[in-house]
Amino acid sequence: MGKVNLTLLLAAVAIVIIIAIALIFPLERLGQLYSLLLIFGGLVALLLRSIFAKEVDRRIIFLFIFVAVAAPLLFPITFSEKPTAVVKAVFDRVESLPPGSTVLLSFDFDPAMAPEVQPMANAISRHCLKKGHKVIFMSLWATGQALLTQSLTNTILPEFPEKQDGIDYVNIGYKAGNEGVLNVIVSNFEKMFPTDVNSVPLGEIEIFDDIRSCRDLDFIVSFGGGLPGSKEWVLFVGDPGGVDVAAGVAAVVAPQLYPYYPAQLVGILGGVKGAAEYEFSLKETYPDLKDMDTPGLKMMGPQTLAHIVIISFIVIGNIIYFRGRRKEKGQ
């Protein structure tokens, strides 16, 4: 009976706190506040449970991660990003190229990588077109071509209606052959890509008037996270062709590319954090782009909360482990 009364009392206190918060805080902040209360309250409860050496079901962890990711999507929490040197190097490189330079953007990823790679691909495409560079879009992944078309038709081109196909940008699409394609285009584009995606011969496309191979390009950015990807661009085009290459990659791959920075890679955008930093730099430099869609920045809210939850669970797991070890020693 005493236990039931205590539970009722706690429930009543919780309801009073919730109503008090609802009256004090502005309406648009309530969702965020309740989500944070739910997550951190739950974590404290689990911490207490672990201190009293009770087991935590693995499904509780999954539930927490789900709430930590879902809540900031429903009630957006955004953070400002300070661009790191490795991301700023890519931004500065695009910024420092004179207008009219030719930049190649390769969409070497699939739908599984799209949530983290597509935001950075869109941001750099936007930046290049904004600066007046000529952009060649291509893909070494079959699945990349559909995502490239999606980016162009849904996001990039509607923002730049004045840009003309073949003059300001061109989509030469996907070509099968992995590293073999790179090995050929480092000396001749036309051998691998006789036409663009609209079946227009490369010889009739204005952008290719002065471009015969990758060696004639001013800058290359490869977006990916698998094979072939940024590493192959360095190995088969950047180093032998003497062309500047940058990488925008899925977070899993980023640590493997750091040894190439800064000698062989101009810079690296690693995962959604890299995308968010690039979007932040773009918005800061170009105030007229302040209303652009920033999926990278939006994803940093769920990322931050999910990381806090994961770190908390690592702490809780260690508490359970060390308590168990002390108990064993005691026995």
């Binding site: 991660i65 789900f66 879902a70 999507l73 006789p194 640590p255 995962g271």
Partner: protein
């Protein structure tokens, strides 16, 4: 079949149909094929939830989604292989009439009979399906392995070996060293400043050196050598930790992608 299973299955079917009808209704007027679009969005949401249901426990919905994914992937890559490699890359170089049949543009350089070699090697590779003459498939396989190794050898030697070693030779005093007095009088704590450069160059130098010591097994890891080895293992652990951190970030991004789909495209909450 258990009663609970039948109830759950019935509930899933009812929810699926309800979602399909509602989504098709929402797309009416926006899309020409609104019924198909409604089905596709509902089916994508169902598959997402089916895969996520594995986190609770293994179940037939997860199994269905898994098998469907494997089957569709295999079929997709087979079709892509045929249309992008054989039709687009090979056919225009072999036959004008075949190129016309598949409606692929002719190559400017014309036909090249040298490309019959990969056709023959490709057919030989398929002989693996035969028990009697399956051994012939080792020849094209050996050709593939040999060509790949030869092609990659020079690239890796230059980019992953020579250039990586030269990148390790960094100035330990940072760039433009003008003496200790000038260093302290112009002390710069920014990320590109001389102090930070000096520290990071020392980390690269010691990290590589101690990492190599850890993997040198011809001498017992004792004394100064042992201390170097211990620093080496710390460097390795920090590297693995950074990789793990990046992996967590990547996986969370994928989850964000799926939840965004559920909330935006399916439930229209955001």
């Amino acid at each position: 079949m258990r009663k609970v299973t039948i109830i759950v299955m019935a509930a899933v079917i009812v929810l699926f149909l309800a979602s399909w009808i509602l989504k098709a209704g929402a797309f009416q007027g926006e899309h020409d094929h609104y019924i198909i679009r409604g089905f596709l969005v509902t089916f994508a949401a169902f598959l997402t939830l089916a895969v996520m249901s594995f986190l609770y426990q293994d179940n037939p919905y997860y199994k269905f989604a898994e098998h469907l994914f494997v089957g569709v992937s295999a079929a997709f890559w087979m079709c892509m292989g045929f249309w992008t490699t054989i039709v687009q890359n090979l056919v225009p170089r072999l036959s004008t009439s075949l190129a016309d049949f598949f409606e692929v543009p002719q190559r400017a350089e014309g036909l090249n009979f040298f490309f019959y070699t990969p056709v023959i090697l490709g057919i030989l590779l398929l002989l693996r399906l035969s028990r009697k003459i399956g051994w012939i498939s080792r020849w094209p396989l050996a050709f593939i392995v040999g060509t790949t190794a030869g092609l990659n050898f020079i690239r890796y030697l230059r980019s992953d070996f020579i250039k990586q070693i030269s990148s390790t030779f960094v100035p330990l005093l940072g760039r433009d060293w003008e003496g200790i007095g000038a260093f302290f009088s112009n002390l710069d704590l920014s990320a590109t400043g001389q102090l930070v450069m000096m520290v990071s160059n020392w980390v690269i130098f010691l990290g590589v050196f101690c990492g190599l010591i850890y993997f040198y097994f011809s001498r017992e890891h004792k004394g100064v050598f042992g201390a170097g080895s211990r620093v080496g293992i710390w460097i390795l652990m920090i590297t693995f930790g950074a990789s793990f951190g990046y992996t967590v970030m990547g996986r969370i991004s994928l989850l964000v992608g799926r939840i965004t789909f559920l909330f935006r495209d399916w439930l229209e909450l955001i």
